[in-house]
């Protein structure tokens, strides 16, 4: 790989140069790491089709950490799982592109996707206890992706698993332990080790710190941060805990009811939220410096995604809602500080905003109720 020169991070590390394996054959070495454009996912249910993810676009660069936040059921996990098409059987990608190194993964067959799953994009599952087989040693389980993906024989896979354990801060000899013999934090570390097994470019953390106590949570986040720096990983962190994102991520994507509400650098979005939903979300979060005893709540419930409201999906709960909000889907507008917002309060963004991060803006809002 010679084309890493233009992908050098500010700290001078050439991230793609650290890869153990060459890029996929069709990869364009100059393409951005991951570009998701117009991703739309539907679940077919007996009671109708659920638009779980609707026209979601974002981009992830080498070494970057992107947080996806939003309340339960807003499509965070679905978005992440559809990157490598690990949706449940009734879920389908209806539209959009998922480009990894410039290769569109959406039209790929199961067989072709095998090249990318775990070797390029891996997942740290939530609930490590359930994701580990209770009657097998963790060393074997961590070695499993190495065995089945890379075809390394069992012994080699186990040796590599021990190295991975050491990398995530678990002593080598614990490879012989069974999951119930480890603490919750160690199990989560083991899951991280498993995600790193094939030296992936992107690690998706699906609520990696849920159900862990605060101290362990901090350790796990610190570990992810260290690994990101040392291995040149890119992270997608799915969580409803905004403090986790504030601590670890470079950029944040706020989702509401299957759509992007606001996206941008963490610092900007958290200090100057523009979308009313983001504002509410942040107000609903305890601030240790404030003197308040009560937290704001967002009245109402997220919409039924089988039949979402026309226009802005947040409109029914929004205090700043205008007549246009219930009729027209707000287009995404860009601001000069890199923030992207989909809200009628900002009809043009600021005029100076160049079309920054994404190749093309999403299509203009159709007039009348969007179906």
């Amino acid at each position: 790989m010679t084309d890493v020169a233009d992908l050098v991070r500010p700290d001078g590390s050439a991230i793609r140069g650290r890869r153990q394996w060459p890029l996929p054959k069709l990869a364009d070495p100059t393409a951005p790491l991951l570009v998701v454009d117009g991703l739309t996912v539907r679940f077919s249910m007996p009671s109708g089709s659920v638009k779980a993810v609707d026209d979601v676009s974002f981009r992830l660069d080498d070494g970057e950490a992107l947080g996806i936040a939003g309340e339960s059921g807003c499509g965070k996990t679905t978005t992440a799982l559809s990157l490598v098409q690990l949706l449940p059987a009734n879920g389908r990608i209806k539209a959009g592109r998922v480009e990894l190194f410039g290769i569109d993964l959406v039209p790929k067959t199961e067989r072709q996707l095998a090249r990318y799953r775990w070797r390029e994009i891996s997942i740290v599952f939530q609930g490590a206890m359930n994701a580990l087989n209770p009657v097998r040693r963790i060393g074997e389980q961590i070695g499993e992706p190495i065995e089945v993906r890379l075809g390394v024989p069992r012994d080699g896979a186990r040796r590599r698993a021990e190295e991975l354990l050491e990398l995530v801060g678990i002593p080598r000899k614990r490879a012989a332990a069974y999951p119930h013999e480890l603490s919750g934090g160690m199990r989560q570390r083991a899951m991280i080790a498993m995600a790193l097994a094939c030296d992936p470019a992107i690690v998706i953390g699906d609520e990696p710190t849920t159900a862990l106590d605060v101290m362990v949570q901090a350790q796990i986040l610190q570990l992810l941060e260290t690994l990101r720096r040392e291995l040149g990983l890119s992270l997608i962190l799915i969580t409803h805990d905004l403090s986790v994102i504030a601590e670890t991520c470079d950029r944040v994507l706020i989702m509401y009811a299957g759509r992007v509400a606001e996206e941008g650098p963490v610092r900007r979005v958290f200090t100057a939220p523009r979308h009313p939903y983001t504002q509410k979300l942040l107000a609903a979060f305890p601030n240790i410096h404030a003197d308040r005893r009560t937290l704001d709540v967002i009245p109402g419930l997220p919409p039924d995604l089988r039949n979402p409201p026309p226009g802005c999906r947040f409109a029914p709960r929004c205090q700043s809602a205008m007549p246009v909000c219930t009729e027209v889907v707000p287009p995404e507008v860009r601001f000069a500080d890199g923030v992207r917002v989909a809200c009628h309060l900002y009809p043009t963004g600021d005029a100076a905003a160049p079309a920054a991060r994404l190749p093309a803006a999403t299509e203009p809002a159709p007039p009348g109720p969007a179906r």
Binding site: I123, N133, V135, R136, P145, Y178, H180, E181
Partner: protein, 316 residues
């Protein structure tokens, strides 16, 4: 012991877990009175089966009769003699070997068929599952013994009789093994299938699939270790059933007349009319052995079940 000093009388809590595998389970089973008694009885019979010659000399000495006909127990013949003057003790010990070998082989056949079909049909599902389970239902519904009698005749016909040997086992013994296997795999398959159905919905199976494991890999490495406890507990109970079936088949004359088994002894005693002649020493020892071994396996099986079955465990 390097453990830190604990207050007197306080023992460190060792959590005996479902997972820490065989060693912990064995310790727990032997810690229970039923498990220990069953195990000890089986140790004795296994020793007899492995080395019958040590106690009574080689099989040849059993075949040549040298005592009185139907003689009662005496110093020379502790368990008396049969109608040909052979030592009953001698026959009994050699019969142990045959009965145990048949039980062992039949158990392996049963458990392997049952486990493989149970796991595959539970995991794969669909038509294969439906077909396999209908076949299993057939074997569950038809009375085992009637089926076994018919099957023995058929398999005899197919394989032929005589003293040919397959894998060092006489063909007529193999017939009995096959018959027991065919008639008893279905309940094992059913149990293992139901556990597989529940296991395949667990998150770790999903994870293995995502990681890239094939179905075969998942069945071998993820499902099988999780149903191992059921397989073991089932095997032990199957062993008892196999010995009973072998006895019954031999008793009605479908065994191998050239190989003494407990069933053969009972059959011989019946055909000579030993019960009518008051020759209790002819049939009581074989009957006692059968009862003891089946009893031991049942004890051990229930102990294993209690230790390995998560539902029973939580109830304790």
């Amino acid at each position: 012991m390097t453990a830190p000093a604990l207050p007197a009388g306080v023992r460190p809590v060792v959590v005996a877990s479902p997972a820490t595998g065989a060693r912990g389970a064995i310790r727990q089973v032997l810690g229970r009175p039923d498990g220990l008694i069953g195990f000890l009885i089986l140790v004795v019979f296994t020793a007899l089966a492995i080395a019958p010659d040590l106690l009574v000399g080689p099989l040849q000495t059993a075949i040549t009769g040298s005592g009185p006909r139907l003689g009662p127990p005496s110093a020379a013949f502790p368990f008396g003699t049969d109608e040909l003057g052979r030592s009953i003790l001698n026959l009994l010990v050699h019969a142990t070997r045959i009965s145990m070998v048949i039980g062992f082989l039949a158990t392996i056949v049963t458990v392997v068929i049952g486990a493989v079909l149970g796991i595959v049909s539970g995991y794969v599902g669909g038509r294969f599952d439906a077909l396999t389970m209908r076949i299993a239902d057939f074997f569950l519904v038809i009375p085992t013994f009637v089926l076994a009698i018919i099957l023995t005749a058929i398999i005899r016909d197919v394989l032929g009789t005589g003293s040919r040997e397959v894998f060092g086992i006489r063909l007529s013994l193999l017939t009995i093994v096959v018959v027991i296997g065919i008639t008893s795999w279905s309940s094992t398959a059913r149990i293992i299938r139901s556990q597989t159905l529940s296991l395949k919905e667990r998150a770790f199976v999903d994870r293995a699939r995502v990681v890239g494991a094939s179905s075969g890999h998942i069945m071998r490495r993820h499902i099988l270790p999780n149903v191992m406890n059921l397989i073991v507990a089932n095997a032990v109970l199957t062993f008892a059933g196999a010995i009973l079936t072998e006895t019954t088949l031999s008793f009605v004359g479908l065994g191998d007349p050239f190989q003494p088994s407990w069933g053969q002894l009972l059959d011989a005693a019946r055909s000579v009319g030993a019960p009518g002649l008051g020759a209790w020493w002819y049939f009581v020892p074989a009957g006692t052995c059968i009862v003891l071994v089946v009893f031991a396996f049942t004890l051990l099986g229930s102990a294993l079940d209690a230790v390995l079955n998560p539902k029973l465990r939580s109830r304790r």
